[in-house]
């Protein structure tokens, strides 16, 4: 095993121990337990121990297990796209915008399509902000327009065009059946079609959004759980300045 290759750690380096739980359409008995064990072995685990078995009724059983994997990955080979612009606080960002752009930046934000989870986008945009970090509305450097919940992509783009926005902020929280992917793709495709895509920055966020994913979907940046207005503001300011 190469020295950069790492494995799960239970209580000894690279022992490969993992905890699992899952349900199967089997009875809660020796046979069901064996089915659960065999499934894990078939998945490639070297050893598997079913430590808990709970009858879920209606022919289902819940299994709790500890298993050992021999898979490992080479740490040195992992590439991950992350937002690289440095993070400045509100004052610094305002000053930066003042100095490098000398004008207010307009951002239009919304929770698009069927999604009504505004807490996230509000955390980024509203005055009061989130966790003691003010939202964009409070920045001098930004003219922040928050369209709120369930805004059709078309309306968001129309608004952005009207305000000729520098950046669009989209929030997607509901991810069931990958609806967030569908919605985000729809928006980007409309933007392309309307020739808006390259007139402004497209930024998305939500608990299941990563910068990685955002890039894949054709956005300029993506922000996940625990991001703050400071992260977004800095990114917009610096990127706009670079663009000149």
């Amino acid at each position: 095993m190469g020295k950069n290759v790492i494995r799960p750690y239970g209580d000894t380096l690279n022992d490969g121990k993992m905890q699992l739980s899952f349900s199967l359409p089997v009875s809660a008995d020796a046979l069901g337990k064996e089915a659960a064990r065999l499934l894990l072995l078939q998945m490639g685990y070297d050893a598997a121990e079913i430590t808990g078995m709970r009858d879920l009724r209606e022919g289902f059983t819940h299994f709790i297990a500890y298993a050992v994997t021999s898979c490992g990955i080479d740490k040195s080979k992992i590439k991950v796209k992350v937002v690289e612009t440095e993070v400045m606080d509100m004052e610094a960002t305002d000053a930066y915008i003042q100095q490098h752009l000398g004008r207010k930046l307009t951002v239009v934000g919304a929770c698009i399509e069927s999604d009504a989870h505004t807490v996230g986008i509000d955390a980024i945009m509203n005055m009061k902000g989130y966790n003691h970090r003010y939202g964009l509305e409070r920045y001098h450097g930004f003219n922040a327009i928050n369209m709120g919940a369930q805004v059709p992509s078309e309306e968001l783009l129309a608004k952005a065009r009207a305000e000729n926005a520098d950046a669009i902020l989209v929030s997607q929280v509901v991810t069931q059946k990958n609806i967030h992917i569908q919605n985000l793709t729809k928006l980007i495709e409309l933007a392309e079609a309307e020739g808006l895509r390259h007139k402004m920055l497209f930024i998305c966020g939500g608990p299941r959004i990563s910068h990685e994913l955002a890039i894949e979907l054709g956005y300029d940046a993506g922000f996940g759980t625990g991001s703050y207005a400071t992260d977004v503001a800095s990114f917009i300011a610096i990127t706009m300045a670079k663009k000149g």
Partner: protein
């Protein structure tokens, strides 16, 4: 016992303010109706089904009457008139309207008593059916014993009614007392109720009459086998409040989420439309013996649970007061409260003890709908499971009525089968572990808990009194509720509200008012 010592003057003032707020709407309740109310009437008369495109016949007929400017007399009269004229059933009338072969307003109106002669039997028939369902529910509880308290309430939300059934049956067998079929995202914004069984939905399953029927049948079966009556609930709130309430009454749902203001504040539905619809919707629930539940939890998903604790109390008082106007008795008012305190806060449990006791003490007869931690639930399922344990501990300690079990995957996905099962295991363990704990305890003199409860009540009273002065509509317009501005004449569905002619007639509302003894106060 943990008995709060609430300032009784504050308690009185809170009730008086709430009555002033809600009492000011008889102008709306007595002189207006809405398209959704009329669609409800048609459903009660027996009109069901939908066009190929999916548009339900009740919508077709009501839209037809709106287009023909006939709606202000109420839909019942026109349909009955057509039945009389053509010797058709209500359903046949609707079919012809849909087919475009019949224009209701073209038929000359028959004499009132002739029309009543058509309507009354339909009314009696439907009300009998609903009372029958109510009786069936009451018998079942007699037969199998009353619902446990706190009742174990779990949600199913696969989007597919058939998967929902599998999961609901399993949950019921594991000990769930109430099954809630969570609605597909934002159904409250649809100005019609989808038709038939559905297998696709986002974040939940559509509330349709057929889905209600399918789930009720499945639960009746399990109730028999488990010798425990399993209750069913869904959501009425939204643009179709009275229609869904009606469907629930017909299909024997046992509880119904029916908040007076949720649609306005959290779905931007027009205030008048919402208040009007909830008035009739709740009357239907009252008549059907259905326990309503309110959505105070929604305030805390967006605002801080400590600073804004009073908004919950205020909303509970307003919901209570509106419910009384619709004839709902306290023991059927599932007022909402939620354990949404930040787990990082010191004494989060101590604070919540004060809040939970306040709700329980202020509404001693209400089967409080106690909501779990959701906002601070994180992707760390182990931590979330513990937060849910504290919530279950609190529910038993303070004797809440209905425990809406939290799921350890709250921050991740709508519940998997196993998540729900672990939630039930969690609740059963906690309920058992602290079963009679409260009997061994009492509040220390001048305890923080008692002071905190009175503080919240005080804030609620002051808030309600300003609202009473402004009037509810102005207060909402100013954004005094949930920090959102909701002007009286904006919001979805305003165009569906209309003033009634002097000869407007809603046979079902009349009959229900009669039986619920609601004439007195008009």
């Amino acid at each position: 016992m943990l008995n709060l010592d609430l300032d009784q003057q504050l308690v009185q003032r809170s009730r008086i303010a709430a009555q002033q707020i809600t009492g000011a709407f008889s102008w709306l309740f007595d002189a207006y109706s809405s398209v959704s109310i009329e669609r409800t009437v048609l459903r009660f008369m027996g009109i069901d089904g939908a066009l190929k495109g999916g548009e339900p016949l009740p919508n077709v007929v009501v839209d037809h009457l709106v287009a023909k400017q006939g709606i202000s007399k109420g839909a019942a009269i026109w349909v009955a008139n057509a039945m009389l004229a053509k010797g058709l059933s209500a359903q046949q009338v609707a079919d012809e309207v849909a087919a475009g072969t019949l224009v209701l307003t073209d038929l000359p109106l028959a004499k009132a008593d002739a029309i009543f002669a058509v309507i009354n039997p339909l009314t009696t028939k439907m009300l009998k059916h609903i009372s029958g369902q109510k009786a069936k529910r009451e018998e079942s509880f007699k037969l199998f014993g009353p619902r446990r308290s706190p009742a174990i309430y779990v949600i199913v939300a696969t989007g597919n009614i058939y998967e929902d059934v599998t999961q609901a049956r399993a949950a019921a067998r594991e000990g769930a007392d109430i099954i809630a079929v969570i609605r597909s995202t934002a159904q409250s914004l649809l100005d019609y109720v989808p038709f038939g069984a559905t297998t696709e939905g986002f974040g939940g399953t559509f509330a349709t009459q057929e889905n209600f029927r399918i789930m009720r049948a499945a639960l009746d079966e399990v109730s028999e086998e488990e010798k425990r009556y399993i209750s069913l609930t869904n959501y009425a709130s939204g643009l179709c409040m009275p229609e869904i309430a009606a469907m629930g009454a017909i299909e024997r749902l046992d509880l119904m989420l029916n908040d007076a203001m949720y649609g306005i504040l959290f779905r931007d539905i027009n205030p008048k439309r919402t208040l009007l619809d909830q008035y009739f919707a709740r009357m239907i629930n009252a008549y059907a013996g259905i326990e309503i539940q309110t959505g105070e939890d929604n305030y805390l998903t967006t605002s801080d649970a400590i600073d804004k604790a009073y908004t919950v109390t205020a909303s509970q008082l307003i919901n209570e007061s509106f419910a009384l106007i619709s004839g709902i008795k306290p023991d059927k008012m599932g007022l909402g409260h939620a354990y949404e305190i930040d787990p990082e806060l010191e004494n989060s449990f101590t604070y919540e003890l004060a809040h939970a006791l306040l709700t329980k003490t202020l509404f001693p007869d209400a089967p409080v709908k106690y909501m779990p931690p959701t906002k601070f639930a994180s992707g760390n399922i182990f931590k979330t499971h513990l937060m849910d344990a504290m919530f279950n501990f609190m529910g038993q300690l303070t004797h809440q009525g209905v425990q809406l079990l939290g799921m350890m995957t709250e921050a991740i996905h709508t519940p998997h089968l196993a998540d729900r099962s672990l939630a039930i295991e969690n609740a059963q363990y906690m309920f058992k572990a602290v079963k009679n704990l409260d009997e061994s305890l009492c509040l220390a003199p001048n305890s923080f808990v008692n002071r905190r409860a009175n503080e919240v009540l005080q804030q609620a009273v002051e808030f309600l009194e300003t609202v009473a002065k402004d009037g509810l509509l102005n207060a909402m317009a100013k954004g005094e509720f949930a920090e959102i501005k909701r002007p009286e004449n904006s919001g979805k569905g305003l165009d569906g509200v209309f003033m009634c002619d002097k000869d407007y007639y809603n046979p079902f509302m009349e009959a229900m008012k009669q039986e619920l003894g609601l004439w007195a106060r008009m």
